[in-house]
């Protein structure tokens, strides 16, 4: 008898906990979810709405389904759009080429000082993005420590410039986002089971074969994550073009920033951002569908 009463009490208890279990995830996710809804998702709709408005700052803007904002934006700024995509792509490939061997070396030959090398690799993140870029301006400037010295030794002609060229902008972007590529690649390489590599060697695969047939394929998820994490901010960036570039290196980010904050031409700016977002988000979603978001998040 006593046992049965105990069971009844447990049943009520269990029902209570079950209700709590059903409600608690929503209570936990509620505040943060609401914040993201109001300040991340809903603003995207307002951006879409602003992009279809007409008017100006003094007379006010009105929603008029003005789709011409989009066609005007594309005809006027397709050069900058294209340039952003090209710069972003070149910078992403450059970071991959530069960081893969480094990540490989740290993962497989880092030895006891692995953590130290990793910290060195991530060191740029401890310096403000703006200051990092400014430092490159100093390095690449005509009278700076590198070019100035080389010129005074007559190793470079006096009229040699790097600043204000697309090379400077792409190099700056590649530098600033390199750890975004290097870290996921490193994580993927580090995860590879060493016994698999041993097995390949035991089966008389040459070092080159081990790399191309085993290591490289196993590191591909990290490379994919790195490409996403690098390409998106690289394409949307405008700071590098602003500080290291000139008039011929303007990216779409510069235009959006200018239209929003200086010209107060909100509709055009919103239309441009919307196109950029659509292009990148469609790409991201396809990318995520193919790879799975979890797989990319693991490397963030």
């Amino acid at each position: 008898m006593e046992q049965r009463v105990g069971a009844g009490v447990q049943l009520v208890d269990r029902r209570k906990t079950r209700l709590r279990r059903r409600l608690s995830p929503y209570l936990l996710i509620g505040p943060g979810g609401l914040w993201l809804l109001v300040f991340f998702l809903i603003p995207l709709f307002f951006m879409a709405s602003v992009s279809l408005q007409t008017g100006n700052l003094f007379e006010g803007f009105r929603f008029t389904w003005h789709f011409a904002n989009f066609s005007d934006a594309i005809t006027q700024y397709h050069v900058q759009f294209l340039r952003s995509l090209i710069y972003g792509s070149i910078a992403t490939v450059a970071t991959l080429i530069v960081s893969y061997p480094l990540a490989y070396w740290i993962a497989f030959h880092g030895g006891r000082h692995k953590t130290t090398y990793l910290l060195l690799m991530l060191l740029p993140f401890f310096v403000s993005f703006v200051i990092r870029t400014l430092a490159w301006q100093f390095i690449l400037s005509d009278q700076g420590i590198v070019l100035g010295t080389l010129k005074s030794w007559h190793l470079l002609p006096q009229n040699f410039h790097v600043l204000a060229t697309s090379t400077a902008v792409i190099a700056g972007i590649a530098y600033n986002f390199l750890p975004f590529m290097a870290l996921p690649v490193y994580v993927a390489l580090e995860r590879i089971d060493r016994s698999v590599l041993e097995a390949a060697k035991d089966l008389y695969a040459s070092n080159v074969k081990v790399f191309t047939k085993v290591t490289l394929p196993l590191s591909v998820p990290g490379v994919f994550a790195g490409v996403l994490l690098t390409f998106v901010p690289a394409t949307g960036d405008y700071l590098n073009a602003q500080i290291l570039g000139g008039t011929n290196t303007t990216m779409i980010g510069n235009i959006i920033q200018l239209k929003f904050l200086q010209d107060f031409d909100y509709p055009t700016a919103a239309a441009l951002s919307f196109i950029l977002m659509a292009a990148l988000v469609i790409g991201i979603v396809i990318y995520a569908r193919v790879l799975g978001t979890r797989q990319i998040e693991e490397y963030v």
Partner: protein, 286 residues
């Protein structure tokens, strides 16, 4: 048994130097040298920043030329009121937004790890989108919202924006640390009569605290450094990165590099302490 039998000859084979080794001797230096060059390339701008903080340019703007060593700018660190003020703003924004984002992000992480519920995969996808979306779009869309409702831009809007981009980062960081959490400890506490509230603060929180701390530090670092989104929602308010950006056209005071050096030093010290404590804890975990 057969496994042991097959592996043993292999070990002896590895110990014997491979026949091809002498031919490849110089090539094994390629990778370390390349890596050293890349690491130097990564560190170079930091060295430049530290160096130019000591450049005796003689006037109030850093010159590209090296004009001798001085510690003057360290002594006159707070001589520019606007710079000091912008740094204060940055610290306020980073502190407040980190506290809010860490609390909200930790709650999301708890919900995602512990419960199965309708809308879970949607929330995960929204967070993924939030991290993957280009910053310029986040800034532009938030500004569109503020413009539409005529919200004046200033410190509150900056804090709103920073919490928005930090929540997902905190949630993912904490979730990763929650994965190995042993729930039986909580059940034990509740069996001993602890209320859920007491269980959380006395049992769960201390265990997941390292994860929360990691998430919070990440949020603080992202917040204090953010330029792109802040530039859109700041109005006339200046944060440290915005102020530095503003000086590019008129000339950069050397104090900017000094401030950068000091922030860098603090960040590296925190990272080293973090690594050291993790190393100390590692043997105990085993």
């Amino acid at each position: 048994m057969s496994v042991v039998a097959t592996t043993e000859p292999e070990i002896t084979r590895v110990e014997r130097p491979p026949a091809r080794r002498p031919r490849r001797r110089w090539t094994r230096f390629i990778l370390p040298v390349y890596s050293a060059i890349v690491l130097f390339y990564l560190v170079l701008p930091i060295l430049v920043m530290i160096l130019y903080g000591f450049n005796n340019s003689g006037f109030k703007r850093v010159s590209f030329r090296w004009l001798g060593f001085t510690t003057e700018w360290y002594r006159k660190l707070f001589a520019i009121p606007d710079l000091t003020n912008s740094l204060k703003n940055s610290l306020v924004v980073a502190t407040v937004s980190t506290l809010i984002a860490t609390a909200l992000g930790t709650m999301i992480a708890l919900a995602l790890v512990r419960y199965r519920f309708r809308g879970k995969s949607t929330s995960e996808f929204v967070m993924f989108l939030n991290i993957a979306a280009p910053e310029i779009v986040l800034g532009a869309s938030l500004l569109s919202l503020f413009v539409t409702f005529g919200v004046p831009r200033g410190l509150p809007t900056i804090i709103i924006a920073h919490v928005m981009f930090n929540i997902a980062f905190v949630a993912i960081t904490v979730r990763a640390r929650l994965a190995g959490f042993d729930r039986e400890v909580e059940e034990a506490a509740q069996d001993l009569g602890a209320t859920p509230w007491v269980t959380f603060w006395r049992v769960t929180f201390p265990i997941i605290f390292p994860g929360i701390l990691a998430g919070g530090l990440l949020a603080f670092a992202l917040s204090i450094d953010d330029f792109i989104i802040t530039n859109f929602v700041a109005g006339a308010t200046q944060t440290f990165p915005l102020w530095v950006y503003g000086t590019v056209k008129v000339g950069i005071p050397p104090q900017v590099f000094v401030m950068g050096t000091l922030i860098f030093t603090v960040g590296v010290i925190i990272a080293l302490v973090n690594v050291a404590t993790q190393r100390r804890k590692a043997p105990r975990a085993e």
